[in-house]
């Protein structure tokens, strides 16, 4: 479920990036890389787990599935937080810089 949720997040972000390209004021590309990177790594993890568990991999216990879903949602939230932090630090539109300068004046 974690992999599935992250893949959905990556696809949604990539669609948004494609729609807003070539503008990159919101740095959606960063978010795409975060989610695609994690999706790839979790995919490899899933392949190894599948090799170990075989068909059992596709029939997880409801408790485990719920935990994985919750983890996936939290991972997506963490990705969003990381993106917002990067956006505010890089500040491509100069909004933070302007706000700080205005206050100083």
């Amino acid at each position: 479920m974690t992999l599935l949720i992250t893949v959905f997040a990556a696809v949604v972000c990539t669609s948004i990036w494609y729609k807003t390209a070539p503008k990159s004021e919101m740095m959606v590309g960063v978010l795409c890389f975060i989610y695609w990177g994690a999706s790839l790594m979790w995919l490899v993890d899933a392949v190894f787990e599948y090799a170990e568990l075989k068909a059992e991999y596709f029939t997880p216990a409801p408790g485990d599935m719920l935990n994985d879903t919750f983890l996936g949602l939290c991972a997506v939230a963490l990705g969003l937080v990381a993106w917002v932090v990067i956006l505010l630090i890089k500040d491509p539109k100069g909004i933070v810089k302007n706000a700080l300068l205005r206050k100083k004046k």
Binding site: G37, L40, V44, A75, L78
Partner: protein, 141 residues
């Protein structure tokens, strides 16, 4: 257990490589280029930017995977930070996981990046080929 440490190590190497490449690519711009070289540079994406794709993929993946390990109690905020490191038997299985899953993660991310690199190079080459033809066509009209 600690599989994300392998891509994290690769991410550190990629970050350093990006910094070095950026400095190298800035140098000829400062020293001044010929018109032909400037035109060539405007068509191509600098390699440092392409390497940033790999860096971002690796760091992004490592961030979320580190969070997953924290979630499962495999990482702790005190020494030795990895729960598996406190027990020799678990340390051995952790190292085995790093050597198998961790390396596979790093290789798969790098492989995807190489595909991205190949596709972008192909697109750039096509654009460069189409460029003079389009110029000729417009001149004929």
């Amino acid at each position: 257990m600690a599989c994300f440490l392998v891509p994290a190590a690769e991410a550190i190497v990629a970050t350093v490589a990006v910094k070095v490449l950026e400095k190298k690519e800035e140098a000829p711009v400062r020293s001044g280029l010929g018109l032909a070289q400037e035109h060539d540079l405007s068509q191509k994406t600098p390699f440092s930017r392409k390497l940033k794709w790999l860096r971002n993929l690796l760091w992004g993946g490592c961030l979320l995977l580190a969070f997953e390990h924290l979630w499962h109690g495999e990482i702790v905020p005190w020494f030795p930070f990895l729960t598996a490191a406190s027990d020799p038997a678990e340390t051995a299985s952790m190292l085995h996981e790093m050597a198998t899953v961790g390396v596979a993660m790093a290789v798969s991310v790098t492989a995807v990046w190489l595909v991205m690199l190949a596709v972008s190079t192909l697109i750039e080459k096509r654009a460069q080929k189409a460029g003079p033809e389009e110029t000729e066509r417009s001149a004929a009209v």
